[in-house]
Symmetry: C2
Subunit: 238 residues, 2 copies
């Protein structure tokens, strides 16, 4: 894969239907990209991939570095080999404000993908972490009904994320989807809201190429109905 | 690309919104596959790719071999490097009957793609050919309201097609989508119905890998709303 192409394993609708018992080794994901996000088996935690390293952000607030990516499976992940084409400094007042910033930086990306990285000090970051299924095939809406949220203040760290076009909803998450990890690699999660402490460094690129591998030899995936649950995806990934 | 991976350029929702003025050279499509289907600029005709050769099936019933694929553009095409994993002989009583046959041949493909080729003598093939936009951005439903249909009887030829999973609707066409070309390469089109004359040769493979390139530097594509029009797609591609 070249730079700035989306690679994903499985589809977000499979998580909605609770398809999370199996997956592929994270090493296989990292072979396609050094920057991205995803989840782990049984939706136990939030995945962030930063500079080619994979971290698991757990329900209790702890973060684990995945030292051996061949030994850990993921049922869903999205990555790219990130090469920023735009780099700027900006103060960001929240997710909506950042959406407007991206719209301005990429005026012709309505139907393309974007990949984003923000580095700097954040006045506030609100994250959630999914705590995992309590039974096989439990769907993501139910899993996330038990999510914990954490508020970080005055924290230095990195935001990693993607914007996906509307028509990809169900395959991936339409709109902006960001994860956060602190510089000390001790805190992080799926971003619900954030605000920067003054200006931060924003890097991004527009993407027009998409690759997807679907689960094979996976009866859960084969049997799932995978109906589009746009409202549910917005609820748990928005 | 390896064998039996889907490669597509653009998305079917773009055709629905009339995005068909530009595209990529067919040579770029053929670099990703030797077997597939699509359309041409302004939706003028039906494309079939068979054994690495591309043919344009026109509104008036004629068929043109694209001798120089670098000189002709397509706004939407889907191909694979086809390597059949199943080969069988069967008598087929119609599209629905063929759907059942495929279901039996691939019991674990509900959420995967299938690629198909049928060779033999057909008692009946009913095809339509889209005649092209009469104005820029004319949507596919309007274009197909002027489609012509042709009935071929006792004709030897080949069927080329894909089955796409439900969740891909809008990106491509969910369900079965087949084009036909006669052995004499003089007739063909988008299949509305068919019936074989006794047994024919059926080759197929299951696909779990998907690649997509989106149009770039294309204001039509960038400006299109690309809302899911599932009913419209079923109407014109069903």
């Amino acid at each position: 894969m070249s730079y700035n192409e989306v690679y994903q394993f499985s589809i977000v609708s499979a998580l909605m239907d609770g398809v999370a018992s199996h997956g592929v080794p994270i090493s296989r994901i990292l072979a396609h990209g050094d920057h991205g996000l995803g989840t782990f088996r049984y939706m136990d935690g939030e995945m962030i991939v930063l500079d080619g390293q994979c971290y698991a952000m757990k329900h209790d607030g702890s973060v684990i570095h995945i030292a051996d990516p061949s030994a850990v499976l993921t049922p869903f992940a999205t990555v790219t080999r990130f090469k920023p084409t735009i780099e700027t400094r900006a103060a960001v007042k929240g997710k909506q404000d950042f959406t407007r910033l991206l719209n301005g930086l990429f005026p012709k990306a309505r139907n393309h993908f974007l990949v984003v990285r923000i580095d700097g000090v954040f006045a506030k970051v609100v994250v959630r972490t999914a705590g995992g299924q309590i039974r096989p095939r439990e769907g993501m809406v139910d899993v996330c009904s038990r999510q914990t949220t954490h508020n970080f203040e005055k924290v230095k760290g990195a935001v990693v994320g993607f914007r996906c076009p509307e028509y990809i909803m169900g395959v991936n998450v339409a709109g902006d989807h960001f994860h956060f990890i602190a510089e000390d690699r001790q805190r992080g999660g799926h971003i619900l809201e954030f605000e920067t402490d003054g200006e931060v460094n924003v890097k991004a690129a527009q993407i027009a190429t998409f690759h997807m591998d679907l689960p094979t030899e996976d009866d859960e995936f084969n049997e799932a109905e995978l109906k589009l649950q746009a409202q549910g995806i917005k609820q748990v990934e928005g």
